[in-house]
């Protein structure tokens, strides 16, 4: 194993270092300022995220060959890099939404927790060692438990935090059990070595299947795939809206990052089993998510179920188990991240203005604030997979992956589900555009941070939907480097 | 001048449309201008047609004044016009009757612009059928004429006009469906719609199958599709039920054209398409056709006799008279190639012309009395001769022409038909003669109920005599009836050559 010079190494883990520094800065400033200038903390977190992304793009780009650090525990490749950028983007946008938010602003540690959780996620995307994966997993999760229950005066929020914690702890225990079995039978904690051993047939098939099932539990929880999705609607509904947005996007993407790596690196020998398992998860998630979303009255619950269904759609790409499938998954995740963040952003903005998250509260929005309505329109259509928005490309690629892998039936299931999904998205749009409300003449209160976040998201949604090429290239590079030994 | 001679038929065909378009730009309020403009527009084709007649060479074979241009090259259909003796007579009939009908319509006061517009379009539709030498084009004009007629009946007709108009168009369109399907099939099988070519190709086609049926069967079906379409138009019993309603409800001028020209379209279809395209089938089924013709004569006459409504009576008389046309055609089909066939065909064509004149005249005269009394109930008339002597005389004359009194037009044509058909279908012809007897009966009955007997006191002193305009409408018809009755040779000259050729061409297939 070659040794990497320290300077190089530091440069390569620049995103993580940057986040660490950012967390420290935020914590310090919070202590100094107390709650008086909480506005700035959000901007600083967002700005810091932007700086991290910029610097990483300039200096920390991975080479064509993956770089192994710390005795192979960390593997810096395009896959990880794209995911890390994605998480930091999600963090920055979430920070903007959290700015000037009552209940959050008084407690500056919010942003610190957010950044630390993001740090855990970036690690999840780049470590290839079972122990490290678990550590990263928990680093990402624990701050999120706190964030979900952040509004301590709000019973629902607290309940949501506790629920999330309980579910998370349970599933991560199951996953850990799977890890221990893998280690016990192969004697290695390195994913690539385990994969090599499995391929060589050194593990009885039955056991391999068992480990696969156990490990999947953890990931399925993280990506909120059925049947481990129960927590999502309650947690999303109770948690602060900005946190819910973060949970449904960055956190979900982190789950996918690990899932893809484990899937393709550890279990290539069991590909048919994995395919079946993931496809089953995909179908279950899509069907359950969409069916339940159909008659939701609360927009946050609706988005929660929709995000379960979206997870199912993304899993189609993973089930294809191909280069193209991984590319599709990554592209879909990018599209989904910006789209869903904006969706929760709008929910937060409207929720604060009307004091309700019921769908009926959206009546008259198009008259009250045509701009916000337009953003919601773009976002929901993107979720529905309609051009010229990002979701269309994601949908196209994911279905394409299924067709390419001779799983057209899965694509057809996806088709049926996307129709059902469009139904409830349109239902929301109907309320927004058609229904009238008494308060529709009052303008909507909108801070500059929210505006920036929303507009930024929507621009990305359109760019990802029209100017596909550069993002696609990244995604396909990331996919290519995932399986290179 | 070249333009005029080379495109004479096109000019005749489309000047009414041009006139109609011009009408659109005239002020709707100025009814007088509209009327005279329409009359002028209908006189232009009349003048042109006279020129056509003058230049027509009755001794030449085939079609004259032929024009041919690509129309719908994608499906091998062309704009192909031409006239022979039969179509020339029909064109003349049309261009004579149309101005008279326009003149008769001067009493229309409601939406005159639309009325005249439709009337002129109708003229083009009728002329197009007579001039077309392309099967598709024939069908186009065949249907084009329907629409104006439908609206003329439905908008300016009597009390039950909607029912009558719908019945008229549904019967005719329904009948045309078979024609349409058969036309499509012929086009597909033969690869052309040009009639001059089809006359050669289609009867010769004996091999191959379609829909699993042998060609002979297919052709028999297509033959009946054609026959039914034309039989409805003629109309032949039992397809006639639309006619009394349509005629009765149509405005006067509409009835004139309907009886005078539109019915001839059906008979013309038999002559132009059925006989040349289906010589074998025609001969095979001629007996049926003759029987239907005879039945039309008898039932038409009986039906007329039973009417109390003057206009309905005249309408039924059309069925009666058109039966002779059918009988003549049937005889010609059966006795193909013989002298009898030629005589019968001559009679049929001449009967088309004479019936056109007399029926138009009769309907006009019914209209004249209706405008004064607002009733058509025969029982309410009576003794009108004394009130309106001129009208009485004219009615008497026209009715006699219709009856077939020797010396007037109807006699010559019906005689020719009977003469030609007798050796071929003796029984049917004999029965027709009985029908002719009833013809006399109903006409005399009508004359008696209108002109003679006690005067209904309601009308005393209230019925003005025929006006000059009305006189101008009826006079040409009477003159023509008389001329054709006394000296039919000028018309038969034109017809004879053509019908001989048709008969000869048919006989070549045996």
């Amino acid at each position: 194993m070659m040794t990497v010079p320290l300077g190089d190494m530091l440069l390569k883990i620049l995103p993580e270092l940057g986040l660490l520094v950012l967390a420290a800065v935020l914590l310090t400033l919070d202590l100094l300022w107390r709650s008086r200038r909480c506005r700035f903390l959000g901007w600083i977190a967002a700005g810091g995220g932007a700086v991290v992304i910029l610097l990483s793009l300039l200096f920390a780009r991975p080479g064509p060959e993956p770089l192994l650090l710390w005795g192979g525990m960390m593997r810096l490749d395009s896959t990880g890099f794209v995911f890390r950028m994605l998480f930091v983007t999600g963090m920055a946008i979430t920070a903007l939404f959290a700015t000037e938010n009552e209940g959050i602003c008084e407690h500056g540690e919010f942003f610190t927790l957010l950044v630390i959780s993001t740090l855990g996620m970036t690690l999840m995307a780049s470590v290839v060692d079972l122990i490290m994966i678990y550590l990263a997993f928990e680093t990402a999760s624990i701050p999120l438990y706190a964030l979900a229950g952040f509004l301590i005066r709000d019973k629902k929020s607290v309940e949501s935090g506790v629920k999330y914690l309980l579910f998370g702890a349970m599933t991560s225990a199951v996953m850990l059990y799977g890890f221990s079995l893998l280690y016990g039978f192969t004697g290695s904690t390195n994913l690539y070595e385990i994969g090599a051993q499995l391929s060589a047939g050194q593990l009885p098939a039955g056991l391999a299947v068992l480990t696969a099932l156990l490990v999947t539990v953890g990931f399925a929880f993280k990506v909120s795939a059925a049947p481990l999705h129960f927590w999502a609607p309650d947690v999303y509904e109770g948690a602060p809206t900005s946190v819910a947005g973060f949970l449904s996007t960055a956190s979900k993407a982190a789950g996918f990052a690990v899932l893809l790596r484990v899937l393709l690196v550890v279990y290539p020998a069991l590909s048919s089993l994995w395919t079946g398992l993931i496809a089953a998860l995909a179908v279950a998630s899509m069907v359950v998510g969409n069916l339940q979303a159909l008659n939701q009255k609360n927009i946050k619950r609706l988005l929660a179920y929709s995000s379960i269904a979206q997870a199912g759609t993304i899993l189609i790409g993973a089930a294809a188990q191909s280069d193209f499938g991984v590319t599709a998954t990554m592209y879909y995740l990018m599209a989904y991240l910006v789209t869903n963040l904006a969706a929760f952003g709008v929910v937060m903005v409207v929720g604060r203005a009307v004091g309700s998250d019921e769908i009926s509260a959206y009546a008259g929005l198009s008259r009250r604030s045509p701009g916000t309505a337009l953003i919601l329109l773009a976002v929901l259509l993107s979720l529905g997979g309609i051009p010229p928005f990002a979701g269309f490309i994601g949908k196209l690629l994911v279905f394409g992956a299924a067709v390419e892998a001779n799983m057209a039936w899965l694509a057809v299931v996806g088709v049926v589900n996307s129709v059902a999904a469009l139904y409830y998205y349109l239902r929301v749009l109907k309320v927004v555009y058609l229904d009238r409300a008494e308060n529709e003449t009052q303008p909507l209160n909108m801070t500059s941070a929210w505006k920036a976040a929303l507009v930024g998201c929507v621009v990305l949604v359109v760019v990802l939907g029209v100017l596909v090429s550069p993002f696609y290239t990244w995604a396909s590079q990331a996919a290519a480097s995932l399986i290179v030994y | 001048m070249d333009l005029l001679t080379n495109h004479l038929l096109t000019l005749i065909l489309f000047t009414p449309v041009v006139g109609a378009v011009v009408l659109l730009f005239l002020p709707a309020k100025n009814i007088r201008v509209l009327r005279w403009a329409a009359l002028a527009a209908s006189l232009v084709p009349f003048g042109l047609a006279l020129g056509l007649w003058a230049r027509f060479d009755p001794s030449a074979e085939g079609f004259q004044f032929v024009e041919m241009m690509p129309w719908y090259p994608a499906i091998q259909s062309s704009y192909h016009l031409g006239v022979d003796g039969i179509s020339l007579m029909m064109v003349l009939l049309t261009v004579v009757l149309t101005p008279l009908a326009v003149l008769a319509s001067f009493t229309v006061t409601e939406r005159v612009k639309a009325y005249m517009f439709l009337f002129l379009l109708l003229e083009t539709g009728m002329l197009g059928v007579f001039l077309s030498l392309d099967l598709l084009l024939f069908f186009v004009f065949w249907e084009v004429g329907l629409v104006p007629m439908y609206f003329l009946i439905a908008q300016w007709g009597g009390t039950r006009r909607n029912y009558a108009a719908l019945k008229f168009i549904l019967y005719t369109m329904g009948g045309s469906l078979g024609l349409l399907l058969a036309t499509q099939m012929i086009g597909v099988v033969a690869g052309t719609f040009d009639l001059t070519e089809l006359f050669q190709i289609w009867p010769a086609l004996n091999s191959g199958t379609l829909l699993g049926l042998p060609m002979a069967t297919v052709k028999a079906v297509a033959f009946w599709a054609f026959v039914i379409a034309f039989a409805i138009k003629v109309p032949v019993w039992p397809f006639h039920t639309w006619l009394p309603d349509a005629h009765t409800e149509a405005p006067t001028a509409g009835s004139m054209i309907l009886a005078g020209v539109l019915l001839k379209l059906g008979a013309y279809g038999f002559l132009r398409l059925v006989l040349p395209l289906y010589p074998l089938e025609s001969k095979l089924f001629a007996g049926w056709l003759a029987a239907l013709g005879a039945l039309a004569i008898i039932f038409g006459a009986l039906g007329a006799f039973g009417q109390k409504d003057f206009k309905r009576l005249v309408a039924y008389s059309s069925i009666n008279h058109m039966g002779f046309v059918v009988l003549g055609i049937a005889a010609a089909a059966a006795a193909v190639g013989s002298q009898d066939a030629v005589i019968a065909l001559n009679g049929a064509v001449l009967q088309m012309v004479t019936h056109g004149l007399s029926a138009a005249g009769m309907f006009f005269l019914v209209g004249v009395i209706y405008e004064r009394t607002h009733t058509r109930d025969l029982t309410e008339f009576g003794g009108l001769f004394a009130q309106m002597p001129v009208y009485g005389g004219v009615l008497l004359f026209t009715a006699m022409g219709s009856l077939g009194l020797p010396g007037l037009a109807g006699f010559v044509s019906e005689f020719l038909v009977v003469r030609g058909a007798w050796p071929v279908f003796t029984l049917a012809t004999a029965l027709s003669m009985i029908g002719l007897f009833f013809t006399g009966a109903y006409i005399l009955k009508a004359l008696k109920m209108v002109l003679h007997g006690p005067l209904n006191e309601r009308w005393k002193g209230k019925l003005p005599e025929m006006s000059l305009r009305e006189g101008i409408v009826i006079a040409p018809l009477m003159v023509l009836m008389l001329i054709l009755g006394v000296w039919p040779a000028w018309a038969l000259d034109v017809i004879n050559r053509t019908v001989s050729m048709i008969s000869l061409a048919m006989s070549l297939w045996f």
């Binding site: 269309f392 196209l396 067709v403 057809v412 469009l422 349109l426 109907k430 090429s469 | 994608a74």
Partner: protein, 488 residues
């Protein structure tokens, strides 16, 4: 470099749509002016494209390409041939007349005209697309304008139901077709969405037979193929006038066109295999649609079902797969487009003035709005396939084609024509003639803009009816191209 006329044509309405959204809502004059101006430009350009197309040279013309996503083999690729050309013209006409008859939309005109422009851009984009991805992109671009326009400006009773049903049906169809398109993309092994390349890919027969139904039915939903037609009447009826015009007039052709361009032209062997099944469905369309139209009591539903019936003829034309039938289908797409646009525009004018669409409550309107009556009658005659109007010259070749391939279909489908005559005459009589109800004694005549729209559409119907070569000469090279792909 030539003037990028097609791109300008596609993007002018898109741009206008965006600009409109930025105009202050209260400047209604500006809004209407921008809408009419851009629609006029679209009309002029579409006529120009039609006129400038070089028939002698044939093939795809005005072609433009630009890289889009090279890694996926996606490019921006537009061009027109004989088949798409009439449809481009149709779109231009209907967009323009749609703006004219919507002049008095007073409820949020900004959004209305903006969405209308998006819709126009979408259909033009589909017709000009030579890239499969791009075709889908524009195809689905229409989803939200359609939905929003129906629910916002549609008829209050059914708009939510009709709009949702329409959107979901069409979306389902297009996503299904998308799966088929992806199969073509991967199955060809060429990794390109360029249809001109894919045409020559030579897919195995089994592959074509498997995937043809996905594409044909997927797009066919939008063309109203039985049994997936039920969105059409509901959607058309629920939609506001201009949208009904565009939906029935142009969008249904988008479906048919895409089914032809993608399903039949890329998978010709699949088309041959499935043609009998399509023929059966399409024949049902023709007869069933007409019969159902006959028993409607709602003015607009009659027209809605008549579209189902007439689109069946287009599909018959496709499925017969011969020169005459394809030519007729091409004509019928255009003819039905302008005809149904005229129908719906008149229905809208009547409804705006009487506020009812119940046939039993209408009558005698010819006295109040003669232009509308004449326009409706002309469209009705086109619908009946009356010679002298565009419907005849379009339907006749379809029937001839049917005689060549499936004579029985010709005989059965003609029934639809009879029934059509019946319901058209009934409707004309009930709405425009007879007694004028008292409450309508004072309704105003239609505006000169409405008359302009009616006159424009009617002129095309009559002109085409007498001079069919004006369109067949353009269509024929396109049809030859398809026949070439079908192998003679």
């Amino acid at each position: 470099m030539q003037f990028p006329i097609l791109s300008v044509l596609i993007f002018i309405p898109l741009l206008a749509g965006i600009v409109l959204l930025m105009v202050p809502a209260q400047r209604k004059d500006w809004i209407r002016g921008i809408a009419l101006g851009s629609a006029a430009v679209v009309l002029v350009l579409s006529v120009a494209v039609y006129a400038l197309y070089d028939v002698a040279q044939a093939g795809y013309q005005f072609v433009e390409t630009a890289p889009w996503v090279p890694a996926l083999g996606i490019q921006y690729h537009v061009g027109v041939d004989g088949l798409s050309l009439p449809l481009i013209l149709l779109s231009g006409l209907v967009v323009f007349t749609g703006v004219l008859v919507s002049w008095h939309v007073d409820e949020r005109p900004r959004e209305f005209f903006s969405y209308l422009m998006f819709l126009g851009s979408s259909v033009l984009g589909v017709f000009a697309s030579l890239d499969l991805f791009q075709l889908f992109f524009f195809f689905e671009l229409a989803v939200f304008p359609k939905y929003l326009m129906i629910i916002l400006w549609g008829s209050p009773k059914t708009r939510e139901y009709g709009g949702m049903k329409l959107t979901l049906f069409l979306f389902a169809g297009s996503v299904l077709a998308l799966v088929g398109a992806l199969a073509i993309y991967f199955g060809s092994g060429l990794r390109t969405f360029d249809m001109l390349v894919l045409e020559k890919a030579g897919f195995p027969i089994a592959f074509q037979q498997l995937w043809f139904p996905f594409l044909f039915l997927g797009f066919g939903v939008l063309s109203g193929i039985f049994p997936f037609h039920s969105w059409a009447p509901d959607g058309h009826v629920a939609a506001p006038t201009a949208v009904s015009m565009l939906l029935a007039g142009v969008e249904m052709k988008v479906g048919a066109f895409a089914a032809l361009r993608v399903a039949i032209m890329l998978l010709p062997d699949g088309a041959r295999f499935w043609a009998p099944a399509v023929l059966v469905l399409a024949t049902i369309n023709v007869v069933y649609g007409a019969l159902i139209a006959l028993i409607q009591s709602d003015f607009k539903y009659v027209i809605g079902f008549s579209s189902v019936s007439h689109m069946g003829l287009v599909l018959i034309g496709f499925a017969c797969l011969n020169h005459d039938s394809l030519l007729g289908a091409g004509m019928q797409m255009f003819s039905h487009g302008i005809m149904t646009a005229l129908f719906f525009s008149v229905v809208g004018m009547v409804y705006d003035r009487t506020h009812t669409r119940e046939l039993s409550q209408l009558g005698g309107l010819v006295q109040k709005m003669p232009w509308a009556a004449v326009g409706f009658i002309i469209a009705g005659l086109v619908s009946m396939g009356m010679p002298g109007f565009s419907g005849f010259v379009a339907e006749f070749p379809i029937f001839m084609g049917a005689w060549r391939t499936a004579p029985l279909v010709a005989i059965i489908a003609i029934l639809g024509v009879v029934v059509t005559a019946g319901y058209i005459l009934l409707v004309v009589r009930r709405v425009f003639f007879g007694e004028l109800p008292k409450q309508f004694q004072n309704i105003p005549d239609i505006t000169w803009m409405d008359k302009l729209a009616i006159g424009l559409l009617a002129a095309f119907m009559i002109g085409l009816g007498w001079f069919p070569s004006l369109m067949t000469s353009v269509l024929q090279p396109g049809v030859q191209n398809i026949l070439g792909l079908l192998g003679g």
